[in-house]
Symmetry: C2
Subunit: 173 residues, 2 copies
DNA sequence: GCTAAATCTCTTAGAGACTAAGATATATAT
DNA sequence: ATATATATCTTAGTCTCTAAGAGATTTAGC
């Protein structure tokens, strides 16, 4: 087997392995939402709030791809559950900032403990240097996914007849 | 900084980086479903079919966590869109196998091209040996997530009075 | 072989979450 | 001042989900 063929095979395996674990990650999230008794979108917003901190309702709509009307519902439910708080911006009174209530949101965080423990166990088998490689990949992969999402959304705004013909690259291997 | 402290920091960074890219991956999937004009669950089932091949309706329900009734709806919509075909098992006529229709499903596959291209670009910067490390991690990570999902589902079946108070609201499932 | 229980999918009714359109309130520009 | 833009919320209607159970088929016990 030639060097490039071996690499192509490796890339194919990697793609499938990542697709698999990513799909399983989605299922984990669904289970968390189910156990917590909140909708998937609601949990997704909690996640965004965890990652981005205090954000406006409009920003949540932008990031999740939901309409502002749907976000109103999401925030209503989360607020009712005591997980977040609406905070009107005093400088621009049209804006509503959504902030997590840490004491309550902690209960959701606990549902990620099984995942953290499982991953800790996996990480144990790697040296510091290997972990640094994984971290580099995670960061670069994140940027790649963001770029891919932007590209795909771009397709949405392109009229179908003007879209470049999407052809799968010839699978090597 | 001590060796173990450095490692703990590394692990923390890794967790956040993976959480970020995983969240972004979910958003990519939502965008795909949106562009394809099908529901999220429908796309999720297409993904499972891609990974597992021909599976029964019941298996889809099991893997997705949806009820069998919901799966009937999913398959109805996918079949109507020409993406899958129902195939009754001649040996056990209660069973219905769901099989993708490759010619049509290809159109969905094309929506993953931006992602494949982005990841290919990322992978380019890694040596074969580094890619093998990433593959090992992806496979072990997958098993970890499966284990975590099982553990979390286990909590679901634990009587509420025997586990820490996690439930915020009565579940609908 | 016959009957009861189990298995697998589908049906139905009702609940929840989403979109589209537009209302409301506030801010900015001319 | 007035018009336009921005940010969130409201409403009506649609879609997808669950819960419960029906229908069809298979398996197990006698």
């Amino acid at each position: 087997m030639s060097r490039t063929k071996a690499r192509a095979a490796l890339l194919g395996e990697l793609e499938e392995a990542m697709r698999r674990s990513s799909a399983q990650g989605v299922l984990y999230g669904q289970t968390v939402a189910n156990v917590a008794g909140i909708a998937n979108s609601d949990l997704e917003c909690m996640d965004i709030l965890y990652l981005e901190g205090r954000v406006t309702a409009g920003r949540l709509a932008e990031v999740t791809g939901l309409t502002t009307g749907a976000i109103t519902g999401v925030v209503d439910r989360l607020e009712k559950a005591g997980l977040v708080r609406r905070e009107r911006d005093e400088a621009d009174r049209r804006k509503v900032y959504i902030a997590v209530v840490p004491e309550t949101a902690m209960k959701i965080g606990q549902l990620y403990v099984p995942m953290q423990q499982a991953m800790e166990k996996v990480f144990d088998a790697y040296s510091d240097e290997e972990l640094r490689l994984l971290l580099r990949f995670a960061n670069e992969g994140y940027k790649g996914v963001v770029a891919a999402t932007t590209a795909l959304k771009g397709l949405l705004d392109t009229p179908p007849e003007k879209r470049p013909d999407l052809k799968l690259k010839k699978r090597r291997g």
